[in-house]
């Protein structure tokens, strides 16, 4: 086992952080360390949180984490914010809401930009989940970018997915529409101190009734007021119940397999793209092909055949 890997397994923050940087930059150095730590993963309960922008996800995560800490559990948090498609930069501000977790050795927070990936996550998220898992964290929380219709990828990586809504944004349930509403294992109406809570709960519950009519688990709808610390204990309890349900129904293994499948696909995809578009040997050839497509001397399908043909040979 290499040095970095053993340090990561002891939970050393510096090593964890450095390794995360390496995987985020798709650095080839990371591979051997990731290979070493993989056997030590699988223990952490991975919770994904998505939902409307302005729903108070960060504050909710802060409170959930505090509750886990009270129960003696360690937590890793991945907070994802959108990368600007124009500049490639990102403003990662979720930590500001998690000030209460500062200086707690049992909490590790990493802010990440989506770096061009759609779906609400970053392509390195699988790796980072593995790293935090291997470092001994009992719980890993992934906070995705605030939601539209496309940000559903979180289910690929999470064991339990929470969808966070707020009252009074009644149309939000309409606008979220299919996709995001379907991925929830638990619905949360946060900012429950605001008017319109009962209505929001009723709307979601009627959706749940339709959705779960032929499922064996009815998706719970909880209310919380994160800034007042209300409803958190019940939520953490419900998350625990969900994990037990997964284990009992063998869904857990199905989920995990899906995650590893996603991870494998992502690693292959990145390597492939890197090989084709970044490795200098191939890059020039690809540039030529694109020129030919532009001049209508070739079509994209034929070009793809050429590239893939060369690789698969």
């Amino acid at each position: 086992m290499n040095d970095v890997a053993s340090k990561v397994l002891t939970g050393d923050p510096r090593s964890i952080a450095r390794l995360i940087t390496l995987v985020e930059n798709s650095s080839p150095e990371a591979a051997s360390t990731m290979k070493d730590i993989h056997p030590h993963t699988g223990n952490a309960h991975v919770i994904g949180i998505t939902g409307v922008m302005g729903g108070g996800k960060s504050t909710l995560i802060c409170e959930i984490t505090r509750e886990y800490r009270k129960q003696g559990k360690t937590v890793g948090i991945i907070a994802i914010d959108p990368t600007s498609p124009f500049s490639g930069g990102a403003l990662l501000g979720d930590r500001v809401r998690m000030v209460k977790l500062a200086m707690d050795e049992g909490v590790f927070i990493r802010s990440m930009g989506t770096r061009g990936m759609l779906g609400g996550l970053t392509s390195a998220v699988y790796d980072v989940v593995e790293i935090l898992d291997a470092s001994g964290k009992d719980v890993v929380i992934v906070e995705t970018v605030g939601v539209g219709q496309a940000e559903v990828d979180v289910i690929k990586v999470a064991d339990t997915t929470l969808v966070v809504l707020v009252p009074g944004l009644g149309d939000s349930i309409q606008t979220i529409k299919a996709g995001v509403m379907e991925i929830a294992d638990i619905y949360i109406i946060n900012k429950a101190d605001r008017p319109g809570v009962d209505q929001a709960v009723a709307e979601v519950e009627s959706l749940v009734d339709i959705e779960c009519s032929n499922r064996d688990r009815k998706i719970p709808v909880l209310t919380t007021s994160a800034k007042n610390g209300k409803g958190i204990v019940a939520l953490v309890d419900e998350i625990k119940k969900h994990k037990e349900y997964l284990k009992k129904s063998k869904e857990f293994d199905v989920q995990r397999r899906k995650r590893y499948e996603g991870e494998l696909v992502e690693i292959i995809r990145k390597r492939l793209m890197n090989f084709i578009f970044d490795e200098s040997k191939f890059k020039d050839k690809v540039e030529l092909l694109i020129d030919q497509i532009f001049k209508k001397e070739m079509d994209p399908y034929t070009a793809a055949d050429e590239i893939l043909g060369k690789i698969l040979k």
Partner: protein, 131 residues
């Protein structure tokens, strides 16, 4: 895969004037960097802990309350103690010219006082960040 420069923009101490810090954060984002903003009321310990977890290349300190000599140097000392020499430290705010050499000696690589163009901060970081 190009690597992104990660910058921590921090407000140490009790100073609540964040107009400049936010403008700089935005300018750095527009220059393609990933910017983690700590929010207000950060102690040296908190700033360095965040810098570790986020594995930042740069720490940008903003302070307008006059406490820069104490607080900036607390942070550079802590970084030294933790052997985090690769992190570029820059600062800005209300910092008189005569304090700048002392801060530089303590490890603050660049001090950007009132009237600084945001482009100059971006250029400085690009030029001085460890590859």
């Amino acid at each position: 895969m190009e690597r992104k420069i990660r910058v921590l923009v921090a407000k140490p101490g009790l100073d609540g004037h964040d107009r400049g810090a936010k403008i700089v954060a935005r300018a750095l984002r527009n220059a393609g960097m990933e910017v983690i903003y700590t929010g207000l009321h950060q102690t040296a310990d908190m700033i360095v802990e965040t810098a570790v977890q986020e594995d930042v290349d740069v720490i940008g300190l903003s302070l307008l309350s006059g406490a820069h000599m104490t607080l900036f140097r607390d942070i550079t000392k802590l970084l030294k103690d933790k052997d985090m020499r690769d992190v570029l430290v820059v600062g800005g705010g209300v910092i008189p010219e005569e304090d700048v050499p002392v801060l530089k000696k303590a490890g603050v690589a660049g001090v950007f006082g009132p009237g600084t163009r945001t482009e100059d901060i971006v250029d400085f970081i690009r030029k001085n960040v460890k590859p």
